[in-house]
Symmetry: C2
Subunit: 229 residues, 2 copies
């Protein structure tokens, strides 16, 4: 149980436009160890969204996941979220700049009916709905472990081939094994292992990827630069 | 840096409808110390949303805050959020059951214009917009410390008299002092001290309050029971 009450007891003067870069500088200075430069923008963005340095070590990436994700986004991947909250957290100007759209099937009455009929969660039923989307599809899961389990089944059945699965459900029941399961499914992943996560984490990972393509000042590593105008 | 990989390595069978109560039972069992029964539903709901037991001690409540908040919600308080994400995270059936509405002025072009004109953040400008709302108003701030600073100024000027301020911005720049400032503003508050917080935390506090009024099974403490049908 660590609190930060000793840190920043008084206000510092930072222009609104500079708050984000000042935050990222503080994060950089407090990192417990150096980061892989390809992964660093994603890790730092999640720490920025949570103020929780646990994510420095909880976040794990399949080999080449960041490059594959950026390729998919350049090809205007659809981003499917498991909550309206994660969808709301994705940066709209960055989506517009790339011509990328988000979808969330959770609030759709057809999803609720399918879940009831099959005795499953709405999140699991919502993943089934995504089978109708054209590739590439990026999944950003910030709430329901059952969504990850459903994705694993659909991948195993050959009905889905995600360009990336962001596995960041939060919670106490079946969250840990669901994350381990998706990491063994043979698809590109970015997962925060353990119980922690949430819609804000899933959205932060998506935003970090979008910013690598839309914000030249983010100093992306070689080969992962912004889209040329 | 604590990870929970040793916990829950295999799936347990829980029906979808029982996942939430199973989660709350695990939280109850792992609490570092007993909670005030009036505050417990809010604290446990935030831990549920974050899987982070830091909130057991980070969450602080002004005297009588929960009762005052429930009174305001019974009187159909408007809930003003500082992010679309927090607004998306508030439980819609619970809102409907109580006839309570949420508002977020962040995406409104008039808010952006006011922020630019005044050299402030959109979040600060969004709080100004809330001065036109009829009482009671509950503020749920999960992102911008400048929203809390703006609220303090508007309260000091007598232009706002919030029924409750939920102060849960997350971050590294001015977040800690902004939370301390709102705790000294003389209005009912629920604040998570320190750097941590976020839209999910703000929404979890709102939902916990809504559920105290709408879910008879939540076993509310005496005097804070559900609305009679």
């Amino acid at each position: 149980m660590v609190t930060d009450f000793d840190n920043g007891d008084s206000f510092i003067h930072v222009l609104p436009v500079d708050i984000e870069s000042a935050s990222l500088s503080i994060i950089e200075a407090e990192l417990p160890h150096p980061l892989d430069p390809v992964l660093a923008p994603i890790v730092k963005r999640v720490v920025h969204a949570t103020a929780d340095f646990d994510y420095v070590d909880n976040l794990v990436f399949s080999e080449g996941a960041v490059g594959q994700a950026l390729d998919a986004l350049r090809r205007r991947a659809v981003i499917v979220t498991d909550t309206m909250m994660a969808q709301a957290g994705v940066n709209k100007p960055a989506l517009a700049a790339l011509g990328v759209q988000t979808r969330c099937f959770m609030a759709d009455p057809a999803t609720a009916r399918a879940a009831l009929a099959n005795g499953t969660t709405r999140a699991a039923a919502a993943m089934e709905r995504a089978c109708g989307l054209p590739d590439p599809v990026v999944f950003a899961i910030g709430n329901a472990p059952t969504a990850l389990v459903s994705l694993c089944r659909l991948i195993g059945e050959g009905r889905l081939s995600p360009a990336l699965v962001i596995g960041a459900p939060v919670g106490f029941v079946n969250v840990v094994p669901a994350k381990e399961l998706i990491m063994a499914a043979g698809v590109p992943y970015i997962v925060c292992r353990g119980r922690k996560g949430g819609s804000a984490v899933a959205a932060a990972v998506v935003n970090a990827l979008l910013y690598l393509l839309t914000r030249p000042t983010d100093d992306p590593p070689p080969g992962l630069g912004p889209v040329q105008p």
